[in-house]
Symmetry: C2
Subunit: 644 residues, 2 copies
């Protein structure tokens, strides 16, 4: 497209008349491709695609991203928040040469094709996979924070639907952007007034300009089908010294007379005579359609392969806590994080670490990092959904992101945001404190007894549940340089250091954290106790109680329940009866994983899974654990019961 | 309290000077109790409690709820959204005689006591357990909707903190209230400008009045420590013909000079000299404290036992679909729901059914109900968090609530809201459509492959995954009258009716849905195929393929993975090799439950768990399932492999 020579980077004050003519012609073709894509697939959202086409065409011409720079770290990023307009965005990308249009429209929503029903990162030019509405602006906030931390001049653009404007997460993201003074972020709303069930004002009314204004954004309205107006509004928003949103007044189904403003075309492609009529209006032909149907049976186009993120950090020297130290795991995490933070803060060629907090810095122990690296600390307030998404998106853009929160907020409350992070192959580190019953008196609403189960549903997340402050220190340093999503989970209470039989720290000097390892804390020949997290120490106490009664119990600890080496596990168990114990729902944590591995291995040994079996009470940890039947004595009793 | 004679129900225009004097004196005592409670427990949030005390004291005097009416269905309901101010609310309840103050402050946050760290429904006068911020207003919306559906004149009051105002779910709830014209709902904000990490404007700035105004609420500001002003503002809000919020300007730590406006007392009780000084300022004594410490070792007070909800509905006559019917499960659900809805709509002595939709009525098939029962249909728009909480709260207030949504929105996106519903013992029905890979071309962001795993983490939820339209019809009718939380899950596609060997419907005439039952669809002697949901039909096809090769496979179906009769399961399996199959993550669905039951029973049979092992592609169902290795032929092949 020639027009890019004048408008790329918003150089020109206005688009020339030649440029507008070129955009109009290209948009006409893009609309044909959108119709073809959805009609060939017999599935998709044609009317929303047509509505957003002129926005996409303008933005892709003027933003600093091209097919050649689409994988560059300093490109402008574009988030399409209303991912169901995929056909429209893909068509605009094709118009700018990101791929061949016929590859796209012939293979849209075809099984195995990169051109998924909702935008996914496997498509060149797509920076964030969406499809669950309301998350895009938070992703944009993440990209903008990452760019700023890296000193990059890149802008982030977030194009959104109007139906999703009522989703709470959008308002959260608006506030973060204003608080963080993100002048490198621009929001654009396709305001066609129609969502799947009908007109906005019938489904869920909202005063769009007032919502943005109330959160401190500059609102710029424009005709969303005038290239000159869209360009002018986007340029003004990009250059505004603050946060600005462009509200584009559009027509759903724009370009095909009988589809315009008709809600049923939101999620329904045209076919038969309607298809012919639509193509005819746009200057397309049924021949194109038939060719595309034919091509759909042919070779499959390939998607983008993104390079893996690289992380360069000095991880410092592990700290070893000894048996006289009174330390909680969260404190050990906070100390290690602050140390690594300080070692790398603002150093050239190091990957910046961004730490996110949701009004709990003191409790989750990121206050040390905040002091050491103030410019890399992001306070989000009580807005967990946006924190999760922003941390996820930023982690794909050249920074390491750490978000620490109570377990129920960092996992339970944002489960779906973490799932979308998984789908987007992010590299975020979520640190959960106050997991299990180990939350003190805060009671059942604060007991995160399900985090292993939650992340087990996804395919990329690693979960680490360290046994003591020493393992926490090493796992923290490991995690910071590990590519991929990692959840580090720990309770609230002070813990004894796990010791070898000689009284020296088990996870001290000479220990190196290895994902997947199963640690034999004590050997034994009568039974196996398999522990996770702070139950390691309790299992050793139980083992000592058993020893007094002449029972020899082996004690294993696995900090990585989802990555456990299954062959090693079966070998370590041998034919001994098994008791698993954990500060987690007894049916869904490491116990269930061990049981399943035993069943799959066809191994019939006795097994009891100890853990949380009902919501815990509100009281001191040890009392709450005792009420749950999880004292070391309880563990010893269960082991003895199995030996009868 | 004598003052209630004049102000109960907001009768008086103003509170008399005698009334104000009585309230002042009672509030002074309540503040002493809050200090005692947190200091005896050595845990809790004293400063927020003191901040909200005058609000609670005014509200409990004037709202239509007393210790005598605290379980009446037509009482005013009070939601304390910032549940960490529990000591303050409990103290105010004690002042109005809901229980003895010394029972509360001696046993606050004591293990086994009803006086949990965050407000819970086991305390008389608490209508909604909170502790995760930002959910209270949505619960209030639910109560207000239920009252209106029942024709009750009761009001709902929601008292909120200011830190939680930025949480997106609050904005969602505001919009629902305005759209539904809930004049029976009043919000009250304790605006002390301080949250746990510091002043609001440092943590996450927001323009409080503008946010409420932008969503269409009337904003009334007042001095939150003047009983006359609070009363006047609450009365004006209650009588306002629309939605109104009272923003109370307060001082955190009010009443104890050295605690006022000091963030550290947000979450830290006073002790030692500070405790003595605080008590002294309020007119209390250390003797009271010592007595409370002593009493904490004594008998435990009892909590409230709430009566179980009763549901009265005509469930109509089940429909039987035959082998010639082309029907999807969601259609069968929608038809049954509309039928039962129409049978009971606006009939005296029947429990009202409220149906919630999030902009997907046509897809999730609640449009039939909407037509039949328009006044009981609530359109929430794309605001799932608030939909989940509102449906939960309403279901504890004399109505049956059904919320239907795509699986990823009704389970994944709102996992924590459903967890809070579980903790609150609600009776809500969540209907998930489009679960599994059975979502058509929408792709991975829309594949809900974890719902069994999610609800398995909770202790009260029942999950039902019907095999075909007939079982769906019967499960729907059963669910509507079932007390407790039920999730009914189904895919998108048209399904064959599951037939007996004689060709008649298996789940047809004569079949009654029973929670926990395992159905033997086909008998066999060589292997067992255990299926869930629409895999029942696929398992039968696999069994027929095996029969052609001389293999006799038993086919079981269990629609209720979390309630499966484990003894019956083990009996049905016997010593046969097992293949489980499901449209769910293979590691976390019914397969993992069967494996765990086998391990726990010490039973060594061969087992393979078939299911979803990576995110699925975007394409037609059968193609996506085939790519995942889940065709009937794949199932047959795995069974054969086990027999080698």
């Amino acid at each position: 497209m020639k027009v890019t020579e004048e408008i790329r980077g918003f150089k020109a004050a206005n688009i020339s008349s030649d440029g507008i003519a070129e955009l109009k012609e290209a948009a006409r073709k893009a609309r044909i491709w959108s119709i073809l894509a959805t009609s060939v697939a017999k599935s998709g959202h044609p009317a929303g695609a047509l509505s957003s086409t002129d926005i996409y065409m303008t933005l892709l011409g003027a933003a600093n991203v091209t097919p050649q720079t689409a994988n560059n770290i300093d490109r402008d990023r574009i988030v399409v928040s209303h991912g169901h307009t995929s056909a429209g965005f893909y068509s605009a990308l094709a118009a700018y040469g990101f791929f061949k249009p016929e590859d796209m429209y012939s293979n849209f929503r075809r099984t195995g094709s990169p051109f998924h029903g909702h935008v996914e990162r496997v498509v060149p030019g797509v920076d964030w996979g969406t499809g669950n509405l309301g998350q895009g602006l938070a992703a944009g906030v993440g990209f903008a924070l990452a760019a700023r931390a890296r000193g990059s001049k890149a802008r982030t653009w977030v194009v959104m639907g109007d139906g999703e404007q009522v989703k709470g997460q959008v308002a959260e993201a608006r506030r973060i952007a204003v608080k963080e003074e993100l002048t490198n972020l621009v929001a654009v709303v396709d305001w066609n007034d129609i969502q799947i069930s009908g007109h906005i004002n019938e489904v869920m009314p909202c005063n769009l300009p007032e919502l943005w204004k109330a959160d401190g954004w500059q609102v710029i309205e424009c005709d969303g089908h005038s290239f000159a107006k869209i360009y002018g509004a986007m340029k003004a928003a990009a250059e505004y010294n603050g946060c600005a949103v462009v509200l584009c007044r559009t027509v759903m189904g724009k370009g095909v007379s009988f589809m315009q403003n008709i809600p049923k075309y939101h999620g329904k492609p045209v076919s038969g005579d309607e298809l012919a009529a639509a193509l005819n209006e746009l200057g397309g032909t049924m021949e194109m359609f038939e060719k595309a149907v034919e091509a759909r049976r042919g070779a499959m186009p390939k998607g983008r392969e993104e390079a893996e993120e690289t992380v360069v950090l000095d991880l410092g020297t592990p700290r070893t806590y000894t048996k006289d130290d009174k330390k909680d795991n969260r404190g050990a995490f906070g100390t290690a994080l602050a140390e690594v933070g300080a070692l790398n803060y603002k150093k050239a060629d190091r990957t910046p670490i961004l730490v996110f907090d949701c009004d709990l810095a003191g409790s989750v122990k990121v206050d040390g990092f905040e002091k050491a690296c103030p410019d890399n600390f992001v306070e989000i307030g009580i807005q967990e959904h946006s924190a999760a998404t922003a941390a996820g998106a930023a982690s794909t853009a050249g920074v390491v992101t750490v978000w620490a929160d109570f377990g129920v907020f960092g996992a339970d409350e944002v489960y779906n945001q973490q799932r979308l992070n998984d789908i987007n192959h992010t590299n975020t580190k979520t640190v959960l404190t106050h997991v299990g019953l180990d939350v003190g008196e805060d009671g059942m609403t604060h007991q995160c007894i399900d985090y292993v189960s939650l992340f087990r549903n996804m395919f990329g997340w690693k979960v680490v549940v360290p046994a003591d402050p020493n393992q926490t220190d090493r796992a923290t340093r490991w995690m910071l340089a590990e590519v991929g999503n990692v959840c580090l989970a720990m309770g609230r209470g002070t813990l004894p250091v796990v010791l070898k039989e000689d009284g020296t720290p088990f996870y001290g000097d000479g220990y190196k954290f290895e994902y997947g390892a199963i640690d034999t804390l004590r050997d034994g020949k009568d039974a196996v106790i398999i522990s996770m997290g702070h139950f390691a120490g309790r299992a050793i106490v139980a083992r000592d109680l058993l020893a007094e009664q002449g029972v020899s119990a082996k004690v294993l600890h696995c900090a990585t329940p989802l990555g456990m080496d299954d062959k090693e596990l079966i070998k370590l168990i041998g034919d001994l009866p098994v008791v698993t114990c954990e500060d987690h729902n007894a049916d869904t944590g490491i116990g269930s994983i061990v049981a399943m591995e035993l069943a799959r291995a066809g191994k019939a040994v006795k097994i009891v899974n100890m853990g949380v079996t009902h919501y815990g009470l509100s009281g001191p940890n040890e009392e709450v654990l005792a009420e749950m039947g999880l004292t070391p004595q309880d563990i010893a009793d269960v082991v003895k019961g199995l030996l009868k």
